[in-house]
Symmetry: C2
Subunit: 474 residues, 2 copies
């Protein structure tokens, strides 16, 4: 594993705790072979897609029901042992590293789609169901679940990180699309939040307290989601621009005109170069917007016409349409491969990824300055972005053997975050805080708000067993 | 004041606390004439639009800034005195009653629209700004704020009760439309939550913890909201149906077809009779849907055609259009007067109002059974509803001098809530819990979830000074 280590200050407040023999024996008695201490299994569970060194848990338990999760948490509470919920392993900020040791609670076996209510556009799934699995199983009913963070993440993990992705500009994020949850609390109690009603004013919004809590308040085991009818018409288009700024200005106008665009993604020339190499796409290596329109035939045509006019005014060229599912799939596969493709342009490199999100009118300043800084610094990079939301990712491709590159990337990343905060945005649009952005969270929310978050954490998890050391140190 | 009293069990756990002389003196020293102990002022602040007896606070303070709110809370914390935030006084579940005495903190003077960012479709307002004030002041910029609970409520109060209303079926509720808050915590600290970015994964969702907290966790003093461009085309229509069931079936089909209808309101024959008397409208006294469509000219025409076909299939007649602002305003005024008009049909009566919300496929069962029960019981009633959301209000018009009528209304209301919960809905779509629905909250969320809410409350407000006795007793 060729990850640079987390900054030492993150580890100082995180001594590893012991897994008592009695607890391990109790887990083995209950879970048998579904409780593993094999090194390979522990190492696989002690990392995610972040550029951190692996930090393995002491054991891995594969749970299959709410009651099994509750049993693990009851034991963990009794013994003061950390528990780290694990879904698909696709998080990006060190969420899964066992910085204080403990149990990785693997929910990937909880893969049942419990109930589709097509007539209400809702579904209830177990946490380990992935978004592709869900969409495959509901497509024949004319339904889809739009949240698409790229990776085939688990729905539980997407809820825990408040994920969003390419369709959020039209359909919202997990914040807007989770109706209710089943949660096992730190004390091992199974509770339900929300209902299948579209709205409610019944007490505190526990659903949205757990959405985005990164496993630090309890274990999400079931999720009730909103679904959407498959649109009557879907059309995707790409357009190339003379500069990133021109592509961003086009995006700003599309959003400000109120066009209900379903997806509006930016790829810079570096990202295109990478996907061309990886997928032999032969795309022009210039800043590109990849857009998708959903609606009635007439509605899609209306949106497309407006967007073409905007793009043309800003020098957008080669407006190419993809109306068949196959042609669309080719473009979106390229988009989803951008990260991996970019990594392959510099063999042996690691990627430090940013995730700022700003109000749409500030997006040009946010991107343009970041590009200027990375060009000056001379680090290889690429940009992909959910620019319709004001959210983009700049990936710095660093050589892990050269500490100066890591330092440069971290400095540029910090400058970008400070700028996003000045522009009234956020340090993370969709990846979460994890280990890596804890300092940024304080800069963004303020000491007072973070202190309040700590109070909430301590109220619900006084022994700090739930994914300790993530979001903030206690 | 002719309100029936709250049920005695609500008051048992709520002894009044003393307002120490030292605190009153400190408030007078700081606020001068903006601190009042006049009986009339206290009585005006000790009630809302619920059918409860007035329960006046010990004094009323008119705050004009975050710092003034913080000063009041710092004193209240020191002396253990309750503080009840007060906006426009239009809440419906006893939220404003000073059941434990203390200070009513009137924010109606905080009426500044702090910043409109038209280019980002956001606005930041002080909590005392009302929705009509906001819409009047942003209209010339081609913008509007859609959440419309009927009353000209304050934005702070709407956030605190997670309000919704007629446009929620298209635009969402306060849950979806608040981007960030300034909150003064129980300890008197001023914190900010959220940002102007459209999405964020930065830590716990404090914004949505305070939205819907009914003043029990802190005082909301500023709110950053999403705005929307005024639609290019707006069209309203009414249609009359042979039965409530037919009107509800039409609604269910409209929603299930995915029509992006902006408003879809039901008025039953009793409600129409009342508004005819009050506003001389001459409407046919039959179940009516009042609908509004927003979009491009072509989009509105498309929606309207689809809805007319659905309505016609269900016996909907007299599809009448109102395309001018004046004609629309006449219909919506009638809708907004329905509550007041209904009260006037039975002089001296009070109204016990329900607020269940169910998944759309269950709406017919929810309404039809409730109508059957109230007809059998023989109480005068009326129905208005945001039926596109699965939410409706049945108002029982009771004679406050006849305890049996109150008991019958409460029994029918409880039956309706139990049915809504069986149908996987909620006891309150938009009014909140307040004093009146605390038992229902436990039925809905379960003891475990309510216990978790109490833990959150105690963590943020250990002396229980923030609107004590609301949502749950401690």
């Amino acid at each position: 594993m060729n990850h640079p280590s987390p900054a030492p200050e993150l580890l100082q407040s995180s001594p590893r705790r012991e897994l008592p023999h009695a607890m391990l024996e109790a887990l083995r008695a209950r879970f048998g072979e579904r409780c593993s201490t094999a090194l390979a299994v522990r190492q696989q569970h002690g990392r995610d897609e972040s550029p951190f060194d692996v930090d393995p848990p002491d054991c891995v338990v594969y749970a299959q029901s709410n009651e099994e999760v509750a049993a693990v948490l009851t034991l963990a509470q009794q013994h003061g042992v950390p528990v780290i919920p694990y879904g698909a392993g696709s998080s990006l900020e060190g969420h899964l590293l066992a910085v204080q040791g403990g149990v990785s609670l693997d929910l990937s076996g909880m893969k049942q789609i419990l109930r589709v209510n097509a007539e209400d556009l809702t579904v209830t799934v177990q946490a380990g169901v992935t978004r592709n699995q869900l969409n495959t199983e509901i497509r024949h009913q004319g339904l889809f679940f739009p949240i698409d963070p790229g990776a085939d993440a688990s729905i539980g993990g997407m809820a825990a990180t408040r994920a969003s992705g390419t369709n959020a500009v039209r359909y919202g994020t997990m914040r807007e699309n989770v109706l209710g949850l089943t949660v096992v609390t730190a004390s091992g109690e199974i509770i339900r939040t929300g209902s299948r009603a579209r709205k409610s004013s019944a007490g505190y919004d526990l659903t949205r307290l757990f959405v985005g809590s990164e496993g630090t308040l309890g274990v999400i085991t079931e999720v009730t989601l909103k679904l959407f009818p498959l649109p009557e018409a879907v059309s995707a288009a790409i357009s190339f621009f003379p500069s990133i700024d021109a592509a961003v200005q086009a995006t700003i106008q599309i959003i400000q005109m109120g066009v209900p665009i379903a997806r509006c993604e930016l790829l810079d020339a570096n990202a295109i170069r990478a996907v061309n190499l990886h997928d032999r796409l032969g795309l022009r290596e210039a800043p590109m917007l990849l857009m998708e329109f959903h609606g009635s035939q007439a509605g899609v045509a209306e949106q497309a016409q407006l967007v073409q006019e905007i793009a043309r005014d800003l020098g957008g060229e080669d407006f190419e349409w993809a109306t068949t599912p196959e042609a669309r799939s080719r473009l979106w596969t390229a988009r989803h491969h951008a990260y991996l493709s970019a990594l392959q342009t510099r063999p042996g490199c690691r990627c430090v990824t940013t995730d700022t999100c700003v109000p749409i009118s500030r997006l040009a300043e946010s991107i343009n300055e970041s590009v200027r800084e990375v060009e000056e610094a001379g680090l290889p990079y690429f940009i992909v972005g959910h620019v319709g939301d004001g959210n983009f990712h700049l990936g710095y491709l660093i050589d892990p053997a050269v500490p100066a590159e890591r330092e440069t990337a971290e400095r540029l990343s910090a400058q970008m975050v400070q700028r996003a905060l000045r522009l009234e945005g956020t340090c993370t649009g969709e990846h979460g805080i994890g280990l890596h952005k804890q300092g940024f969270l304080v800069d963004e929310a303020g000491e007072g708000a973070v202190a309040l978050m700590r109070q909430l954490k301590l109220a619900l998890d006084p022994r700090n067993i739930m994914n300790p050391g993530k979001i903030f140190a206690l």
